[in-house]
Subunit: 129 residues, 2 copies
DNA sequence: CGGGATCCTTAGCGATACTG
DNA sequence: CAGTATCGCTAAGGATCCCG
């Protein structure tokens, strides 16, 4: 397969303004997301447990961040209609991909030089030359 | 060495409010830092080249981010007193560590279950139980 | 060309109080 | 317990003009 597929690799270049991966980056690149993902790596956790483990996060911000991650399919929310109420958050398969390096990093060749990040991206911004 | 050193491993737990690594995280977890590091992975780049490659970044924000990264030792700034002026930015050894996964991820065991993130951290926030 | 200086907008974050 | 609802602050981000 391959050869001349319609979507060029430049479409998946993070450096491109219209690249969809910028949305993913925006979700990761904030103060709390990474820590929450870390906490959930070991399995489902309750709201209160997360808040205690991720020291310094306020209830509101935790709620906001969890909701955003839920919308994006990073984690799922399970509400148990008990009293007192219990709510658990769990990483989805997609969310678990955040807890380990991308395939290429684990399996690819271990060369350390002249490596461009997304394959075929090579940030050689040739302006004049 | 080892045995009873003063600094416990909980001191290097990102989840801890006083953990120094939160400073590092704060530097990474913003809109542009990651992209700038990506661009510089292939070698030194000029200010203008970076701005063109990292699409959508404004001059001021690029300057601010570069200055912050320079202060933190992630990259170095080389100014050549020519006309027109030329300034190049280059990743330091520390900055280059951001372009590859931490040692443990590359070399450690490939187990996928019951793994806690920083060694000996295990986010098992036991509140009551 | 590579900024510095200003000004402005927004959104992320945080504290507090209240509720099912 | 796990939220929601406000309110407020600050810093990140952005537009524009100016300068050596």
């Amino acid at each position: 397969m391959s050869a001349d597929s319609g979507l060029s690799d430049t479409q998946w270049n993070v450096l491109s303004e219209s690249c969809p991966s910028r949305t993913s980056l925006a979700r990761i690149a904030n103060k709390w997301t990474a820590m929450i993902v870390i906490v959930l790596t070991d399995g489902p956790q309750r709201f209160g447990a997360i808040q205690q483990t991720v020291q310094g996060i306020s209830g509101k911000v935790l709620t906001d961040t969890l909701r955003a991650l839920e919308r994006d399919g990073i984690l799922t929310r399970h509400s148990y209609p008990e009293n007192p109420p219990r709510v658990e958050y769990e990483l989805t398969a997609l969310g678990r991909t955040l807890t380990e390096p991308p395939p290429r990093w684990g399996g690819g060749p271990r060369s350390t030089s002249t490596r461009s990040w997304p394959p075929g991206t090579a940030a050689t911004s040739r302006t004049t030359r």
